[in-house]
C-alpha cells in the first residue's frame, strides 16, 4: 500500500476500530438479557440493512447526523467549540420552512435553492451572536452556545405555536409548498436527495480542510493560536469564519429535515441531532470522510434498534450504551496518541541529516 493511501485510510480505519470495540463491549451488555449477542446483532443488522427499505431508512436517519457531524468536525478542527449546532439547526429549519410556505408559487429550481440558502443564513445568524460575544468580549463559547440552543428551541416553539401556527393540533407550521420538497427515492422511505447533498458536502469539506489555504489556517487555529497569528492570520476573524461556516452547515441539517422529511416545521423535531453530531464528528476523527462512516453507523444503529427491540428482548437503549462506549473509546484513543507522541520524540535524534541523505541518494 502506498504511503499516501495508507495515510488517507488511517482515519477511517481508526473509526472502524472504535466501532468494532464498541460492538464487542455491547455484546457483553446483551448477555444478561438472555438473548445471545449474535441474535441481537443479527436483528440489528437486519433492521438496518435487511431489505432495500431498511437500507434507505438507515441512510435517511444518517442524513441529519451527517450534516451536524460535518458542522462539528469543521468547528472542532479549528478549535472553535461550537456546541450551538442544535440551535443553528432549528433556526435554519425554521427559515427554510418560512420560505417554503410563503414562496410556494415559485418553481422548484428557484424555491429549493432559496430555502437551502435561507436555512444556511439562519444557521449563520444564530452563530453570529455567540461569535461576536466570544471574540469581542472573550465570553466562553460553550456557555453562550448552550444558552442559544435553548433560546432557539423555545423561540421556534413559540413561532410555530402562535404567529405561524399551522393546520394541525401540535405546534407546527403549515405544510411547505410541494415545490419546496426534496425529491425522495422511494415513497416508503423518508430518504431524500438531501443525503446526496450531505455526501457532496463531506467531500467538499474534506477538500477545503486539507487542500486549501482556508483549511491550512483552520487546522493551525485548532492546534496553536499563537502560531496562527504568527503566520499572519487574524485569529478573531478566523474564529468567526469557522463558526459561521459551521453554523451554515448546521442550518442545512435543519433544511433537510423540513424540506425532505417532515415537510413542515414541527416544534422540537430534532432528537438531539446537534449533540449526536459532535459524537459523530469525534468518532470520525474530525475528518469529513470519517464523519460519513460515523454518521452511517449511528444511522444504522438507530434504525436497526427498532427491529431489534421488536424481535428480541433487548431494549433499544442498548444503542445509547454503544454511543457512550464510543465516546469513552475516543477519549482513550486521545490518551494513547499523547503517550505515543512522547515516545516518538525520543527516537528522532538519530535520523540522518539532510546532507547525509543527499549524499546517500547521489551515490
Amino acid at each position: 500500500m502506498s504511503g499516501k493511501l495508507k495515510k488517507a485510510l488511517a482515519a477511517p480505519a481508526k473509526t472502524l476500530f472504535a466501532i468494532f470495540v464498541a460492538l464487542v463491549i455491547g455484546a457483553l451488555l446483551v448477555l444478561p438479557t438472555g438473548t445471545t449477542p449474535l441474535e441481537a446483532y443479527k436483528e440489528l443488522w437486519n433492521g438496518a440493512f435487511g431489505s432495500k427499505i431498511n437500507i434507505l431508512n438507515t441512510l435517511a436517519r444518517s442524513t441529519p447526523l451527517l450534516f451536524t457531524g460535518l458542522a462539528a468536525a469543521l468547528a472542532f478542527r479549528g478549535g472553535v467549540f461550537n456546541i450551538g449546532i442544535e440551535g443553528q439547526l432549528y433556526i435554519g429549519a425554521f427559515s427554510a420552512a418560512l420560505i417554503g410556505i410563503y414562496g410556494q408559487n415559485l418553481p422548484p429550481v428557484i424555491l429549493i435553492p432559496l430555502c437551502i440558502l435561507g436555512a444556511m443564513l439562519g444557521g449563520l445568524l444564530w452563530a453570529v451572536i455567540p461569535g461576536i460575544l466570544n471574540t469581542k468580549y472573550q465570553i466562553n463559547l460553550v456557555v453562550i452556545c448552550t444558552m442559544m440552543n435553548n433560546i432557539a428551541e423555545l423561540f421556534t416553539d413559540y413561532l410555530c405555536g402562535y404567529p405561524f401556527k399551522g393546520d394541525i393540533p401540535t405546534n407546527a407550521t403549515l405544510k411547505l409548498g410541494e415545490n419546496a420538497w426534496l425529491m425522495r427515492f422511494d415513497e416508503r422511505s423518508e430518504l431524500n436527495i438531501g443525503f446526496i447533498l450531505a455526501v457532496v458536502c463531506a467531500v467538499l469539506l474534506y477538500i477545503l480542510m486539507f487542500k486549501t489555504r482556508f483549511g491550512y489556517e483552520t487546522r493551525a487555529l485548532g492546534l496553536n493560536r499563537r502560531f496562527t497569528s504568527y503566520i499572519g492570520v487574524n485569529v478573531n476573524r478566523k474564529i468567526l469564519a469557522v463558526l459561521f461556516l459551521s453554523g451554515m452547515i448546521a442550518g442545512l441539517a435543519g433544511a433537510e429535515q423540513v424540506m425532505g422529511v417532515n415537510h413542515r416545521f414541527i416544534s422540537a423535531f430534532s432528537s438531539d441531532y446537534g449533540f449526536t453530531g459532535i459524537t459523530v464528528a469525534l468518532l470520525g476523527g474530525l475528518n469529513p470522510l470519517g464523519v460519513v462512516i460515523g454518521a452511517l453507523f449511528f444511522g444504522a444503529l438507530e434504525n436497526g434498534a427498532i427491529q431489534m427491540e421488536v424481535m428480541t428482548n433487548v431494549s433499544r437503549d442498548l444503542i445509547s450504551s454503544l454511543q457512550a462506549v464510543i465516546i469513552m473509546l475516543i477519549a482513550a484513543e486521545e490518551l494513547i496518541r499523547t503517550r505515543r507522541g512522547i515516545k516518538k520524540v525520543k527516537g528522532a535524534g538519530k535520523a540522518p541529516s539532510g546532507r547525509e541523505r543527499k549524499e546517500a541518494s547521489a551515490s
Binding site: 492546534l223 502560531f227 503566520i231 487574524n234 520524540v345 528522532a348 535524534g349 541529516s353 539532510g354 546532507r355
Partner: protein, 505 residues
C-alpha cells in the same frame, strides 16, 4: 573509591533506533558529574533509565554498590534518587510548602500536620541555603525560585543522588550562579549530583567529572582539570566546529529599518517599549542586548506586526509600515524568528513541509487559484530547507515536534531566510540549541549579513551579541540606554548599561 552510581553496559533500543549503546559510567560519591552531549545524543534517555522512568534493554545499574532494577521512578526514589526535570512539575495553585510535601505529607490524625511540615522544610532550606517563601503560590514565583522548590521537593524525599536535566536552560546568569552555589552546598554535604547540559562554560565551572555522550555512546570520560571547552566541543560534535564565518568589511548608509519614537504596550505595562528609536542599515547586524523583560519581546513583536504600536512610526526602506498587518509585513520582506519557536514559530504537530510555508503560504507560488495549496512546491521548499540548513530528519513528512530543539530552530531559520528577506528580526535565535547548531546558525546569520540583509538580533546571551553584532543597542526599561561599538566596550561596561546604572548622553 566509593561510587554512588555505576552504570554498566546500558543499552536502550526504541525500535530501529539505538538511544543508548553500551554506556558505562561511574559516579563518585559527593561529586558533580556532567553528562554533556548534543540534543538527541541520548543523555536524557540515560538519566530517565537511572531514574526508573525507562527500563534499559540491557545492562546493570548499581547504587552504592548494590545492583538494582527499577520498574518505575518510585523504585528509584526509594533508593534516594531524585530528579529535577527541565519542565517543573509544580502545582501552580498550591503554596510552596504544599508543593514540597505533596504525596508525603506528615499527618496528625486525619489531617495534615502543617506545623511539622513547615519545620522540616524550612530546616532543609536553611541547611542547603535555599530560602523560599513557603506560603506563596508556586505559580507566582520566578523561575529560579521554582527550581529551588523542585530541589527542596526531592531533598524532602530524602534524595542523596540528584539528577538535573538541563537546569540552566531557563535561568538568568544570576540564577545560574545561585544554582551552582546550591549544588556545591549539596555536594559538600555528601550528596551526589548528575547534571545534563550542553553549555560547556557551565560544565567547566561546576563539574568534577565529565562524560561526553555522542550518538548514544560514551566518547570521552574526563576530569575537569584535564580538559577545556575546545576539546569538549570536539568530542561532542565529533569533529572540529565549522570554521567561523568572517564578516566582510562593508559599510552602507542605506537605512533599511527606521523606528521613530515607538511606544508598545506590554502585558502589564502601557509602555513596555517607551518612545524608542533605532535604525538598522543595509548589511548590518544590530544587536539588542539587555536583561530579558526590558521590552525586547514587545519590540520584536511590534516590528513583526503582531502587536500594534500606540505611538510612533516604523518604516522599511523609506516606506511607512506602521499600520501594516503582520501578513503585509512578512510579504514585504520582514522575516521574524520568534523567541519561542515551540509556541509561535512552529506548529509542532504539523510536518516539516507544512511548517516550511508558514506565513508564506499566501504567496502565489504556494496558493494558486481557488486557494488550493500547491503541495509540490511546499515539499520542494521543505526539501530545500532540510538540505541547505542540514536539518536532521528522516523526511519532510515527520512532525516537526519530533525533531530536536536545534533542528526545529533550523527549520524556522531556514523558512525565514530562504525567502530572501530585507530584514530579519532574530529573537534569541540560539536559545536551547546545541552547540553544533549554534555555530551553524551564527555562520548563517553572518553570511546573510554579508549578502546585504539587515539583521536585528535580540539576545540575552552576551557571547552571541559580541560575536555577531556590528553595533550593540542596550535596552533597559523599554528604552535604548546606549548604542555602542562592540570593539570598544567591555562586558562590564555593557553590564552597567543593562542594569540601568549608566545611560548614554
Amino acid at each position: 573509591m566509593e561510587y554512588s552510581v555505576e552504570l554498566e553496559g546500558i543499552r536502550k533500543v526504541y525500535g530501529p533506533v539505538i538511544a543508548n549503546d553500551d554506556i558505562s559510567i561511574k559516579v563518585r560519591k559527593g561529586s558533580v558529574t556532567c553528562i554533556v552531549g548534543e540534543n538527541g545524543a541520548g543523555k536524557s534517555t540515560l538519566m530517565n533509565i537511572l531514574y526508573g522512568l525507562e527500563q534499559p534493554t540491557a545492562g546493570t545499574i548499581r547504587i552504592n554498590g548494590e545492583t538494582v532494577r527499577f520498574s518505575s521512578s518510585r523504585d528509584a526514589i526509594k533508593k534516594k534518587i531524585g530528579m529535577v526535570h527541565q519542565h517543573f512539575m509544580l502545582v501552580n495553585e498550591l503554596s510552596v510548602l504544599e508543593n514540597v510535601i505533596i504525596g508525603m505529607e506528615p499527618r496528625k490524625g486525619p489531617s495534615l500536620n502543617y506545623k511539622k511540615a513547615r519545620a522540616v522544610v524550612s530546616e532543609l532550606g536553611e541547611r542547603f541555603g535555599m530560602q523560599v517563601p513557603l506560603d506563596e503560590k508556586a505559580g507566582d514565583l520566578a523561575v529560579g525560585i521554582q527550581q529551588k522548590v523542585e530541589i527542596l521537593k526531592i531533598l524532602y524525599r530524602g534524595a542523596e543522588i540528584l539528577i538535573f536535566d538541563e537546569p540552566t536552560a531557563v535561568l538568568t546568569p544570576q540564577e545560574t550562579r545561585e544554582l551552582f552555589a546550591n549544588i556545591r552546598t549539596l555536594t559538600a554535604d555528601g550528596k551526589t549530583v548528575l547534571l545534563i547540559t550542553h553549555h560547556l562554560d557551565e560544565v567547566m565551572e561546576i563539574s568534577d567529572d565529565i562524560v561526553v555522550v555522542r550518538r548514544g555512546k560514551v566518547v570521552a570520560t574526563l576530569k575537569k582539570e584535564e580538559t577545556d571547552v575546545k576539546q569538549l566541543a570536539f568530542h561532542m560534535v565529533g569533529s572540529a566546529l565549522p570554521e567561523e564565518c568572517q564578516r566582510e568589511e562593508k559599510q552602507s548608509d542605506q537605512v533599511v529599518l527606521a523606528v521613530k519614537e515607538i511606544t508598545v504596550a506590554g502585558a502589564n505595562k502601557p509602555n513596555a517599549v517607551n518612545r524608542l528609536s533605532l535604525e538598522v542599515h543595509e548589511g548590518e547586524i544590530l544587536g539588542v542586548a539587555g536583561v530579558s523583560g526590558n521590552g525586547q519581546s514587545e519590540l520584536a513583536r511590534a516590528l513583526a506586526g503582531l502587536v500594534p504600536v500606540t505611538s510612533g512610526s516604523i518604516s522599511l526602506c523609506d516606506r511607512d509600515i506602521t499600520r501594516k498587518s503582520r501578513r503585509a509585513r512578512l510579504l514585504d520582506g520582514i522575516s521574524y524568528i520568534p523567541e519561542d519557536r515551540k509556541t509561535d514559530g512552529l506548529c509542532l504537530q504539523w510536518s516539516i513541509a507544512e511548517n516550511a510555508i508558514a506565513g508564506y503560504y499566501v504567496q502565489p507560488a504556494y496558493s494558486g487559484r481557488f486557494g488550493f495549496i500547491n503541495r509540490k512546491k511546499m515539499n520542494e521548499t521543505a526539501e530545500r530547507i532540510i538540505q541547505e540548513y542540514d536539518v536532521r530528519t528522516p523526511s519532510a513528512a515527520v512532525p516537526v515536534g519530533s525533531l530536536s530543539g536545534g533542528n526545529q530552530q533550523k527549520v524556522v531559520i531556514g523558512r525565514e531566510t530562504v525567502v530572501d528577506p530585507k530584514l530579519i528580526i532574530a529573537a534569541e535565535p540560539t536559545r536551547g540549541v546545541d552547540i553544533g547548531a549554534v555555530s551553524f546558525i551564527h555562520n548563517d546569520i553572518i553570511a546573510l549579513r554579508n549578502k546585504g540583509v539587515s539583521v536585528l538580533l535580540i539576545s540575552s546571551d552576551l557571547d552571541e551579541i559580541f560575536r555577531l553584532s556590528d553595533r550593540i543597542a542596550v535596552m533597559y526599561n523599554g528604552e535604548i540606554a546606549a548604542i555602542v561599538d562592540p570593539s570598544s566596550i567591555t562586558r562590564e561596561e555593557l553590564g552597567l548599561y543593562m542594569a540601568g546604572a549608566k545611560k548614554e548622553g
